[in-house]
């Protein structure tokens, strides 16, 4: 990992590659995200290796086979054997990539055996979350103040990646997401969960996650959805089951209280 970052760092201006400026995909906190990450690294190393081979051959030729060194050009212009070899070898490499990719994809698409269902609805430009069986729902809106966006105030650490009310999920439980939209197409994305799914108005998409570690995971809308597309973050807070139960109880009380108040008026 370290060597890889250092390698990439050469390409950037010195000093850019520090911890606060990540330059690779997060490993994430689910089995799926870790599978996706290793798939990504496998592909990255494979294409890097192919690139090194191809470019070394090319630059060797550029250095050696030049007119200024007084060489006489060869005249060969085809070889069925060579051409067959470099058609077959890439094909084999593709199979090597396709096998784990297929496996990961099949796992990602299997949302059976879930413990909890959250319905996610995209709006221009906020998210709505509904815990279907618990009857709890709320909106989640960007909480970064306008003054920071307009450069009137110092930007804080989670600039544009913070919301007024986070989506709270229990760790170690399989959570199914039902994703849709109320207006245009959005996409719900949290990189550390490796979940990205379009929210299409009139249709319901399915995705799922099973978070291994408690923590706060931040993402953004990933499908252009109009003026404030860049200003509708996703924040997930993963907590242990007991804490989740407490939180849920509190939400239920709050919702019932609000409903009672509404009835009394």
């Amino acid at each position: 990992m370290r060597a890889y970052k250092w390698l990439l760092g050469i390409c950037a201006i010195a000093g850019s590659a520090n911890a606060e400026q990540p330059m690779n995909m997060p490993v994430g906190v689910t089995d799926i995200s870790q599978g996706v990450f290793s798939m990504h690294m496998l592909a990255l190393w494979l294409v890097t290796a192919i690139g090194v081979l191809v470019f070394v051959a090319m630059f060797y030729s550029i250095m050696v086979h030049r007119k200024s060194r007084g060489v006489t050009p060869a005249t060969f212009h085809e070889s069925t054997t060579v051409e067959a070899v470099w058609t077959i070898i890439p094909f084999v490499i593709l199979v090597v990539l396709a096998v784990p990719a297929t496996k990961t994809l099949i796992e990602m698409e299997d949302s059976s055996g879930y413990d909890l269902t959250v319905k996610i609805t995209g709006y221009q430009w906020l998210w709505h979350y509904e815990y279907i069986d618990e009857g709890v729902d709320f909106y989640s809106v960007l909480s970064t103040p306008r003054s920071q966006i307009n450069n009137l105030e110092q930007k804080t650490e989670n600039y544009l990646l913070e919301v007024d009310k986070e989506l709270v999920l229990p760790v170690g439980k399989k959570v199914r997401f039902l994703i849709t939209s109320n207006d245009v197409i959005h996409a719900w994305w949290v990189p550390e969960l490796a979940v990205k799914k379009d929210a299409v108005p009139g249709f319901i998409n399915e995705a799922w996650t099973k978070i291994n570690e408690p923590g706060i995971y931040r993402g953004q809308c990933a499908e252009l959805c109009g003026r404030d597309h860049g200003f509708m973050p996703v924040v997930v807070r993963a907590v242990p089951q007991a804490e989740f139960d407490n939180w849920m109880a509190q939400q239920t009380v709050e919702e019932t209280g609000a409903e009672l108040a509404a009835v009394q008026q």
């Binding site: 606060e20 798939m39 086979h65 593709l94 990602m108 307009n150 930007k155 299409v200 597309h229």
Partner: protein, 525 residues
């Protein structure tokens, strides 16, 4: 009518300063020149928009433009660069070169040729004018996905009409190429003796005819959804927003190859000349081009893995997409085998061709990564994708176009360009294009979505770097403009062959070539 026809058959060239000459011309060289200048002008307009985008993205926070205007800049930049720069530039090259390469007098359908060019300035004037309309220009992305695109203000019908015009122009250009290549080849030039530029363009032309009508259908459905109460893309009326994406990408993926196949032809012409060695694997180049064109029709949904497709569909599109790496790899290997044990020199066209091979391959590598559906869920709609397609389009298609201008300019105008300035242009472009687009891989992997006017703090360093690169790249292109104008106005006279080892019929004609290329068919060995 009859007077025009009577004037036509003489070898009579009006002054280059007469408007009538350019407006009514049916000559393939004049029309080629018009296409190329149009493309260069649009390149600077589209580039200016890119610089507006990069200026806003230099630092986190909103500094210069409104988010809505930002969105319309990304939308317009893409439409202009795709339909206004790369496509017309290749049509311009086709016009100039195909008749000379196949030994014809002119294109097969000269009047339609005139029309297909002159539609374009009107189409793009209309497209650009939408920026001043109520509600601003189109801001839903060049992919025009509904329902977002249906929220466009007064601009929508004008945008759709101008896309229809662009499609008409491309289809007519493509018909002309096919008619010329199939009917006007000199006796003895069999299909498998044609230069690769002609081959790649022939295949491109078929792609254009196959998919431009599909785009036209898609945008017309948008129009009727917006103004005539249909519900093609509206779930509430029984439609499906995702249907548009399938239609769009059925056009859009072959379109990607429309933008790159002629480049393959260009590179296959330039590398053998400067390696002083025949192209390696001519036949496999032709078959690889054909395979890529065929595969381009069955991979479209890899642009939409996150849209919620069934597993079987995702697997199919993943495997089909990965297959494209095979014929593309064959091409790159063949170019390197052409250089192998050659006697290379490194004039500007060769430098741009070599830059193309390296950087297009980098774009190909990220393309292979993007093909892997489970990982694409992370890459999709991030700057990783932006880095990918800019690598194949800028140091890919644009470098190939620039390489061909340097390569054939002495033939076109009879004067050599300034080699020193050409090399300076190459090195500045190559350095800055990488400073611009390489960091985009990093921010994309780290989680920065595309098409956002403002971003989280952890993306700031690489964005600042990309902006610096973009300005450097943009201003370096002024050198190109200067070199071209300088060569047209004078300079060292070019010989007929121009380059020591250049082969092909166009190099048997004088530099500049006669107004009607081959009045008697050349003899093919």
């Amino acid at each position: 009518m009859s007077t025009v026809a009577a004037d036509d058959h003489h070898d009579h060239v009006e002054s280059p300063y007469s408007i009538k000459r350019w407006l009514f011309t049916t000559n393939h060289k004049d029309i080629g020149t018009l296409y190329l200048w149009f493309s260069l002008i649009m390149f600077f307009i589209g580039g200016f928009m890119a610089l507006i985008i990069r200026t806003e993205l230099f630092e986190p926070g909103m500094q210069f433009v409104d988010p809505q205007f930002f969105n319309s800049m990304t939308t317009m930049h893409a439409i202009i660069m795709v339909f206004g720069v790369v496509m017309p530039a290749f049509t311009g090259l086709a016009n100039w070169l195909i008749p000379m390469m196949v030994g014809a007098t002119d294109m097969a359908l000269p009047r339609m040729n005139n029309w297909s060019f002159w539609i374009l300035p009107f189409a793009f004037t209309m497209m650009l004018s939408t920026l001043f309309m109520d509600g601003g220009g189109p801001a839903g992305g060049w992919t025009l996905y509904p329902p977002l695109t249906l929220q466009t203000g007064d601009a929508l019908p004008f945008v759709i009409l101008s896309i229809h015009f662009m499609g008409l122009s491309s289809i007519m250009g493509a018909i002309n190429v096919i008619a010329t290549v199939l009917n006007m080849r000199a006796p003895g030039m069999t299909l498998m003796k044609m230069p690769l530029f002609v081959w790649t363009w022939l295949i491109t032309a078929y792609l254009l005819i196959a998919v431009m009508p599909v785009l036209a259908g898609g945008v017309t459905m948008l129009l009727t959804d917006k103004f005539f109460g249909t519900s093609f893309f509206n779930a509430a009326g029984g439609g499906d927003p995702v249907l548009f994406q399938h239609i769009f990408w059925f056009f859009g993926h072959p379109e990607v190859y429309i933008l790159i196949l002629p480049s393959f032809g260009v590179i296959s012409s330039i590398v053998p000349t400067f390696a002083r060695k025949p192209l390696f694997g001519y036949a496999s180049m032709v078959y690889a081009t054909g395979s890529i064109a065929f595969l381009s029709f069955i991979v479209w949904a890899h642009h939409m893995f996150t849209v919620g497709m069934p597993l079987a569909g995702q697997l199919f599109f993943m495997f089909a997409t990965m297959l494209i790496a095979v014929p593309t790899g064959v091409k790159v290997f063949n170019w390197i085998a052409t250089m192998w044990r050659g006697a290379m020199t490194f004039e500007t066209p060769m430098l741009f061709a070599l830059g193309f091979i390296v950087m297009f391959s980098i774009g190909g590598f990220s393309g292979l990564m993007l093909a892997l559906a489970p990982v694409d869920f992370q890459y999709h709609d991030t700057y990783f994708v932006v880095a990918h397609f800019h690598y194949v389009l800028v140091p890919g298609s644009i470098f190939a176009i620039v390489a061909s201008v340097y390569y054939w300019l002495p033939k076109w105008c009879g004067n050599m360009y300034s080699e020193g300035l050409g090399k300076l242009h190459f090195w500045l472009s190559t350095i800055f294009v990488n400073i611009t687009f390489f960091p985009m891989h990093f921010v994309g992997l780290a989680g920065m979505p595309r098409r956002i006017p403002d971003y989280a703090l952890q993306f700031s360093d690489f964005n600042a770097l990309a902006t610096i690169g973009a300005f450097g790249f943009g201003f370096s292109q002024l050198i190109f403009l200067y070199v071209v104008i300088k060569a047209i106005r004078g300079g060292e006279k070019a010989t007929s062959q121009v380059w020591e080892n250049a082969e092909g019929l166009e190099w048997t004609l004088s530099s500049p070539p006669p107004y009607h290329s081959f009045t008697t068919p050349p003899v093919i060995k």
